[in-house]
Symmetry: C2
Subunit: 289 residues, 2 copies
C-alpha cells in the first residue's frame, strides 16, 4: 500500500475539493461544536483513498486521529477515575479501553450520522460500513467481539475529537463536553460485557469441562468450531477475521449450553457472589454483563 502510494503522482492543484460550507455546518451541528478553522473538518473526515488515483496528500485524518486518541485516553481515564473512586486499576483500565474501543467509537459515528460525511474512494469500505450499520441495532451497548466495526469509522470520531482539541487551543473541558454528549451512554461497570471466548473459557474452568475452540478450519473454510468435552457444540464462519469467527462460535456455544442446561449451568456465574475486583486485574477479560 505505501509502495503503491509512492508510485502515484501528486494531485493537480485543487484536486481535493474542500468540504462545502453546508457540509461543514452539518457536521458542526452533529458535533455540537463550531470550528474557527473550518478546514479541520475536511481534514478530519478525509480517508487516504479519497485522493485516488493520486498520492494521498497531507489532508487526511491520520494525524488528527493520533492526537484525538491521546486526548480521549486522558479524558476517559479521568471520567472513570472520578466515577469509581474505589475501583482498582484493572477494571479502571478495562472501562477506559471499552469506551475508546473501535466498536464503541464506530457506533458513535453511526448513531450520530457522522459516517455519512467520511470522504473516501474505497468500495470495500462502503460495503463494510453498510454491513456494520445493518447489524448494529442488535446490540444495545456493545457486541463484545461479535461485530466487525470498520476502523475508518472509529478513526473519524478520534480525528474530529483531535480537530476540536486543536481548534479550541487544547481546551480539554470543551473536548470532553463534545465527546460526553456523543458517547452517551458511556459503558459503565454495569454494562461492560465479556467477550464470549473469555466467558466460554471461564465456563469450562468453573464446570470442569474441556472447552476447545478450534480454529483449524478457519483458513480452509473460514469456520471455527467449539467442542465441549470433545463434542461439537457450535460453529461459526466469518471470512474477514478469525477473531470475529471465534467470538461468534463461542457465543453460539454459550447460547446452546444455556438452552441445554435450562439456563442453570451457564448463567450461574452472574448469580454467584461477585469476585472481588482486584482478582479481575489479572484476567485481561472484560467483566460483567
Amino acid at each position: 500500500m505505501p509502495r503503491e502510494q509512492q508510485q502515484r503522482e501528486e494531485a493537480p492543484p485543487g484536486y481535493v475539493p474542500p468540504m462545502s460550507p453546508e457540509e461543514v455546518a452539518a457536521v458542526e451541528a452533529l458535533l455540537g461544536y463550531e470550528f474557527k478553522d473550518k478546514s479541520l473538518v475536511g481534514d478530519a473526515l478525509t480517508h487516504g483513498s479519497f485522493y485516488l488515483p493520486y498520492r494521498s496528500g497531507d489532508s487526511t485524518y491520520e494525524r488528527l486521529e493520533y492526537l484525538g486518541d491521546g486526548v480521549l485516553t486522558c479524558l476517559v481515564s479521568r471520567e472513570v477515575f472520578l466515577t469509581y473512586p474505589d475501583l482498582p486499576p484493572g477494571p479502571l483500565t478495562r472501562l477506559r479501553a471499552a469506551n475508546v474501543d473501535k466498536e464503541k467509537l464506530a457506533r458513535i459515528a453511526v448513531d450520530h450520522g457522522i459516517h455519512r460525511f467520511l470522504r473516501h474512494k474505497a468500495p470495500k469500505l462502503e460495503e463494510q460500513i453498510a454491513d456494520f450499520v445493518k447489524e448494529l441495532g442488535q446490540y444495545e451497548y456493545h457486541s463484545n467481539g461479535l461485530l466487525d466495526a470498520p476502523k475508518a469509522l472509529s478513526d473519524i470520531v478520534e480525528s474530529l475529537i483531535g480537530a476540536i482539541y486543536v481548534d479550541s487551543k487544547y481546551n480539554q473541558e470543551l473536548v470532553w463536553q463534545v465527546f460526553r454528549n456523543l458517547a452517551d451512554p458511556l459503558i459503565s461497570l454495569e454494562t461492560l460485557g465479556k467477550h464470549p471466548v473469555s466467558e466460554l473459557l471461564e465456563f469450562g474452568q468453573k464446570t470442569g469441562r474441556t472447552v476447545d475452540i478450534s480454529k483449524d478450519g478457519w483458513v480452509k473454510d473460514t469456520k471455527v468450531d467449539v467442542f465441549v468435552d470433545g463434542v461439537l457444540v457450535a460453529s461459526a464462519t466469518y471470512a474477514q477475521k478469525k477473531e470475529i469467527a471465534s467470538n461468534r462460535a463461542a457465543k453460539a456455544a454459550l447460547d446452546k449450553l444455556k438452552e441445554m442446561s435450562g439456563q442453570s449451568d451457564v448463567q450461574s456465574a452472574p448469580a454467584e457472589a461477585p469476585e472481588p475486583l482486584d482478582e479481575l486485574d489479572h484476567s485481561g477479560a472484560l467483566e460483567l454483563q
Copy 2:
C-alpha cells in the same frame, strides 16, 4: 498474589504512616510543584508491599498511576504532534511510546532522585532498583531493550503526574510544565533508537543472511544464542526476562558483525537514503538512531 492479599488482615488504624512534612517538601522540590493536598504525595509513592504483613489499603499509587498514564499519553501526543507537523502517524506513535515507556519514566525517577522516596517492603525490588541505577549511566537516552527497568519506578512517575493532575484540578498545562522539565531531553526522532532484535533482523533482510535468534536455551540456562547463516555469532544470558536476554544477544551479535566487517556491513543502513517515513508505519519497529 490477590488471594494472598485477601488472607491478610486490615491494618490497625494509623498503621501506614503518612509521609513526614520534610519528605513531602523534598519531593515537591524535586518535582517543582507544591501540592495543596499533601496526602497525594504519600499516595503516589506507596507501593502495595508497603502494607505488609497487612492487606494493602486504598493508599497505594495504582489508581493515580492509571490516571497519570492517561494524561501523559495526551500531553506527549500533543507535544510530538506539534513538534513534527509533517510526520505520519506511525513515527508519531513510536515517538509517543518511547517518551512514556517504562525505561524512559524509570530513568526520570532515578535522574531526579525520586526513586529514593518510593515506600515499599519488597527486598527484591530494592535489588532491581540498585541494579538499574548502576547500569543506567551506560546509555545516554535509552538502552532500547537492554536494561530491565523496574516497573515500580516508572509507576511512581506516572502516579506523581496523576497526583499533580488531580491536585491542580486537572490543569494539563501545569502538568505538562512539570513533566517537560523532568523528562528533559525528550526522545526525539534523532535520538529514537532501534531495538537490537529489530536491527539485527533488518540486517539479515538487507544482506540476505539467515539470522536465527534461538531462545531454546533460555528456559534451561537463561541463554539466548544468535546464529547468522548457521554460525553462532553471540550469546547472552539474563535470568529475569527472555526479552532482555534476546536484545542483549542481538546487540552482542551486531557489535561482533560490525567488528568483523570493519563496520561497512552493518552500519550501511543509516548511511543509505532514509526510507520514506510512511513506509515505517507498518514495521512496528523503532526507527533511526
